[in-house]
């Protein structure tokens, strides 16, 4: 018995990771975290808030927790800033945005953002790769984009598909009453499932192999059941069931690029950022023009989505190349995931967050749809969001021993009389089961960190000085970007989202800049002169494939200092010998 208790205690300690390193070089986890955390369940608002606060308190040198506003019901919109505050000005470092669960029912996507936060902070002391990123870059992480509805999904009766909306009341059926006919947990068992009624003329039948599953009868078959929709009653007496539930909009159709109203784009609310949660993010982004990459975690279907959301908003070829390079790497890191273009491979989205980060902020942005049906039996991805219903049923039977399904049972319905209710629990369908959660979070975190590592990094590679005749001096500098993402995407140039990079000359004795030019190549065979303000050369963009050559003709003697100053690519300085 004593042995059993000891084992239990050790087991508890292990599960929170609190046991100190026993010498075995465990990989893939911060080994001795200051804030231990398990990742086999989902945290609600209070639990997330506590973890974020604990991290901020334990690691004040590399993370800070701020609220950027309040949700409709008054919850905080927490943003964790992760960077080494002692190394450089936060706003001058290349920055990455990460958010989770703008659709609150996509529950694990929030925990994936939280996990990323935890991993970066707790892994900082252990992994050189992370330490380097956190030293010279910034992460802004908002795990709960729709905190009000997260509480509803976790703590109230719901399905795996809701709430997608926020909790701001909308009169969906336009009868003057708001949210008056939501679904109802008729039997009070905590689950919203389906309703069916025995009916000799019904067109549904039980599945041959998995009888809990209802399928449509073939044309020449007798069915025996009629399906009555989601669990609910006609609360407002207008003859319709569940037609005006809480909220009634899609927060991911509320963003400021290519926004269209509800009759064109279902789910759009009144105008871009008419939802205060999103407006807080837009204001944060305007105040942080250094953001050059963004990821939004969603579920489900195993997708790495890029824009454009609508066919007419094509991306330039050079920007697309960057998207492809990162997205294709993601397919390797996330087995069963597919890199896709939203409008072409999924469906058209106007006013989505994904496009906004790209077209209005100038950041390379992806939306990952977490959880893939590939994970049921790791054979093939059948391309559907949640896998075939047979796989789903088989997985429930073999791996979960049937506990994902609420068995059909009779209830008294006020409008329909005696009916049966049954169906999958809200925790099954779009989310991994508990034992697969951590893997899902980790792989998506790793892809996000890889993406963030591609943020532009401007660098003055060399400064050469040459004496010309007549007392003139020529100063030539090579400006490079060591990473995949250019300092300004072509969309940022086209829409003028951030100013050009500036390459400036200073220092020297009696420096007087007479003129300055950019060379198309290192030989300056076709130089482009900048007459106005030649001391501060304007450079449209610096990319890995296109270094920039700048030359000044000056009076005065060295050493000269060249500064490259990019809003998204950071700051770099080099002085000539």
């Amino acid at each position: 018995m004593k042995y059993l208790i000891t084992t239990l205690i050790i087991g508890l300690l292990l599960s929170t990771g609190a046991v100190a390193d026993d010498g075995y070089p465990l990989v893939g986890r911060p080994v001795d975290p200051k804030v231990p955390a398990a990742w086999d369940f989902y945290r609600d608002y209070d639990a997330q808030t506590k973890l974020l606060k604990d991290l901020a308190a334990a690691h004040p040198d590399i993370c800070r927790l701020d609220s950027i506003g309040k949700s409709w019901e008054g919850r905080e919109m927490w943003v964790m800033t992760v960077t080494n505050f002692s190394k450089g000005d936060e706003l001058r470092k290349p920055a990455f945005w990460l958010d989770g669960a703008i659709h609150a029912n996509e529950v694990q996507s929030s925990d994936a953002a939280l996990y990323t936060c935890w991993y970066l902070v707790e892994g900082y002391g252990q992994m050189d790769y992370i330490r380097d990123l956190v030293d010279r870059q910034v992460f802004y992480i908002l795990p709960m984009m729709s905190p009000d509805s997260r509480e509803v999904h976790l703590h109230e009766a719901a399905t795996t598909n809701d709430p997608r909306t926020g909790q701001r009341p909308v009169d969906n059926d336009r009868d003057g009453l708001f949210d008056e006919d939501d679904d109802d947990d008729i039997d009070g068992d905590g689950h919203i499932v389906s309703m069916r009624i025995k009916d000799p003329n019904g067109r549904y039948k039980e599945h041959d192999e998995y009888p809990w599953m209802m399928v449509r009868a073939e044309a020449d078959e007798v069915g025996g059941w009629t399906m009555l929709g989601g669990e609910g009653i006609d609360n407002d007496g207008d003859g319709m069931v569940n037609e005006d539930g809480a909220g009634g909009y899609d927060p991911n159709r509320d963003w400021g690029y290519d926004w269209q109203p509800g009759h064109v784009q279902w789910g759009a609310y009144r105008y871009p950022f008419s939802l205060q949660e999103n407006r807080a993010v837009s204001e944060f982004a305007l105040a942080h023009p250094n953001i050059g990459g963004a990821q939004s975690f969603h579920n489900a279907g195993g997708m790495i989505l890029s824009g454009p959301g609508a066919e007419e908003n094509t991306y330039s070829r050079s920007d697309r190349q960057v998207y492809d390079a990162i997205g294709e790497k993601g397919e390797q890191m996330l087995p069963g995931y597919t890199y896709m273009i939203t409008w072409e491979d999924l469906y058209t989205v106007h006013g989505g967050e994904l496009d906004w980060w790209y077209a209005n902020v100038g950041a390379i942005s992806y939306t990952n749809e977490l959880w893939t049906s590939f994970n049921y039996f790791r054979t093939e991805n059948d391309g559907s969001w949640t896998g075939s219903r047979e796989d789903q049923a088989r997985f429930n039977e073999l791996l979960l021993f049937g506990e994902a399904f609420v068995d059909w049972h009779e209830v008294e319905h006020p409008d329909y009389g005696t009916v049966e209710v049954g169906g999958y629990k809200k925790s099954y369908g779009r989310q991994p089961p508990s034992f697969l959660i951590q893997e899902e979070l980790h792989r998506n975190m790793a892809f996000t960190v890889f993406h963030a590592a591609q943020l532009p990094r401007i660098r003055v590679a060399d400064v050469r000085v040459r004496q010309l005749e007549h007392g003139l001096t020529e100063v030539t500098a090579t400006i490079v970007n060591d990473n995949l993402i250019p300092t300004r995407l072509s969309v940022a140039e086209r829409n003028s989202l951030v100013r050009p990079d500036l390459v400036s000359l200073s220092g020297g004795n009696g420096l007087k800049v007479l003129t300055a030019m950019r060379g198309g190549d290192m030989f300056f065979r076709q130089p482009r002169e900048q007459e106005h303000d030649p001391q501060n050369m304007r450079v449209d963009s610096v990319s890995l494939s296109s270094p920039v050559y700048v030359r000044w003709i000056v009076r005065g003697s060295g050493p000269f200092t060249v500064t490259a100053d990019s809003i998204k690519g950071g700051l770099s300085t080099l002085t000539s010998e």
Partner: protein, 570 residues
């Protein structure tokens, strides 16, 4: 000459002198005067002043509601708002006259309540909302400076898309407090003088063997060295380019995205929160009375006005033009992202926009009868038949006849960006060609007031025309309500119906004690009912063994309500 140079240089150095412009538009209400006037109007027992938002610079956006008194409203115990017409002032900030007319219309309505029986009857069931100044920050520029025509607020913007904000404003080179135009003598220029009036420049046609003489630029310097002049001045975002319909993202004045500004959000949210607004009247260049809409707004179905609505708008326009006139009116603006378009296309109300004022056609005084006519003819200089620049020539003549000093004569200045070249500053003073001298405002308002009264008479008027009871025996009754609309306008625009922005007429029955429905629901909805007597019906099957009185109510916030009772089992 040396004196002139000295003055010019001085003026370059000095800050802009105090406003030189105000005189011709004296009498217009600045923001403080407007607010105090609104507070004054709100003293009336039938009026109420509300603040619906605050601009970035902290100015209030006010709505003046005129309708039943507060006591009357609370006494009725009816929480549903009454159908309303919203009247907006200068949705395009530089069209200041609209703001004055809107304010004055509110005054006229209140003044008429004592003796205008029709208006009084209208206000027993409806409200007016007056929003004279939806964009007070942009309007404030006129009163604090007025140096150039501006409709944008003060949010910094990158008008020339070079990455810097507001870095190339105009400069007052001649020291008159105004930023007018600047012409640079240059054989490569595209402009030449009008044959009848050298003050007016017209574009030379090189293909017709004409020779340009001037480059025409706005007054100022090229501060950012991009060889464009004054292309990125202060601000900003134009309320009338910031709305969601037909939005031109990333174009000048449109803002970073739709409804990005506090004033835009305040107005749009207020409108959506008040679905009882069935008609919107506004003042601006998107005039759809003098130039009614056709269905060519956009290439997609939802971008076009609905055919039914176009017919109605044409009927309204025909009558309204009789009241407000259209001689010499300039063409209507395209209205990308404009408020009047939004009010119809995305909000679904009847949206009527008119230009408050424009420079009328100048008519030379008739020569006196008799002998002098001939000599006058002789004295008159020969006029060319040049069509280019005719608007400017007309405006110069009209202002001269009015005695208004509307034109800054071209005068030479020294310009550091054009050393050794002849540069002259001059041109029309800002704001004057869209806004009349204040003494014209009462007459304009009188016409607009008549149009407003015309519109009030057109709104839908629903009633329960008949409550039909069929006794089916054994205590079973079929109750059918016939709901009629005797107003001219249908109960909603076709557009509102198409985009689901209408509130359908919700209809409900209350049953006598002991009665129940055989089947079906107590409540239902009626979709759009046409005007001039069209009707729609709704039936219930009621089981009422003891008979009794059933009540029917039909209501929509933007239409109003009607109710009736019927006896079962008599």
């Amino acid at each position: 000459m040396r004196e002139l140079i000295r003055i010019c240089l001085l003026s370059l150095i000095c800050a802009l002198p105090a406003i030189a412009l105000a005189a011709p538009l004296e009498g217009y209400h600045d923001n403080a005067a407007l607010e105090s006037q609104l507070r004054q109007l709100a003293q009336h027992p039938s009026a109420e002043l509300m603040q619906i938002g605050t601009t970035a610079e902290g100015r209030a956006i006010h709505v003046l509601r005129i309708g039943g008194s507060q006591e009357l409203l609370s006494a009725s115990g009816d929480s549903m708002p009454r159908p309303a017409i919203a009247v907006f002032g200068n949705v395009q900030a530089s069209h200041l006259a609209g703001r004055e007319v809107c304010l004055e219309l509110a005054q006229r309505v209140l003044d008429s309540l004592d003796d205008d029986a029709e208006l009084l009857a209208f206000l027993e069931q409806h409200d007016f909302y007056f929003i004279p100044s939806p964009t007070p920050d942009a309007t404030e520029f006129f009163f604090s400076s007025g140096s150039f025509e501006r409709s944008t607020n003060s949010r910094p913007a990158d008008d020339d898309k070079d990455g810097w904000l507001d870095e190339d404003p105009g400069e007052d080179l001649n020291g008159d407090g105004l930023l007018t135009m600047m012409r640079v003598e240059d054989p490569s220029g595209d402009w030449m003088e009008h044959p009848d009036d050298p003050r007016v420049l017209i574009r030379a046609r090189r293909e017709d063997n004409e020779q340009g003489q001037w480059r025409l630029l706005s007054e100022g310097r090229d501060n950012d060295g991009d060889e464009a002049f004054n292309e990125d001045g202060p601000g900003g975002v134009d309320f009338n380019r910031n709305m969601t319909f037909n939005y031109d993202q990333f174009s000048e004045g449109s803002g970073p995205w739709q409804v990005s500004e506090p004033e835009s959000r305040a107005v749009v949210d207020w409108m959506f929160d008040n679905p009882q607004i069935c008609m919107v009247l506004s003042f601006g260049p998107e005039d759809n009375i003098r130039q009614p809409w056709n269905n060519d707004h956009g290439k997609l179905m939802h971008e076009s006005a609905e055919r039914d609505d176009i017919g109605i708008m044409e009927y309204i326009a025909k009558q309204a033009v009789e009241l407000i006139g259209k001689d010499n009116v300039p063409g209507s603006a395209s209205g990308r992202g404009s408020f009047p378009d939004w009010a119809y296309f995305h909000y679904g109300a009847w949206s009527i926009c008119t230009r408050a004022w424009w420079v009328p056609e100048y008519k030379a005084p008739e020569p006196a009868e008799g002998a002098e006519a001939e000599s006058a003819e002789e004295k008159k200089p020969e006029k060319s038949d040049e069509k280019r620049g005719s608007d400017e020539i007309n405006a110069l003549n009209w202002f001269t006849a009015e005695g208004t000093d509307a034109f800054v004569e071209w005068t030479a200045v020294q310009h550091p960006d054009f050393p050794g070249k002849r540069v002259e500053v001059g041109g029309f003073k800002p704001y004057l060609r869209d806004n009349p001298p204040a003494e014209h405002l009462p007459e304009i308002t009188s016409k607009q007031f008549e149009m407003l009264r015309l519109l009030t008479g057109m709104l839908p008027r629903i009633s329960i025309r008949e409550l039909e009871v069929d006794d089916l025996g054994e205590g079973l009754y079929r109750v059918t309500a016939h709901v009629a609309n005797d107003g001219y306008l249908p109960t909603s625009t076709r557009k509102a119906d198409a985009i689901r922005k209408d509130y359908p007429l919700n209809i409900a029955i209350t049953l006598p004690a002991g009665a129940s429905l055989l089947t079906g629901s107590l409540r239902g909805q009626l979709r759009r009912i046409g005007g001039n007597g069209a009707e729609s019906e709704f039936s219930w099957l009621v089981v009422a063994p003891q008979g009794g009185t059933a009540g029917i109510v039909v209501a929509s916030p933007s239409v109003g309500s009607a109710s009736g009772t019927v006896e079962l089992g008599q």
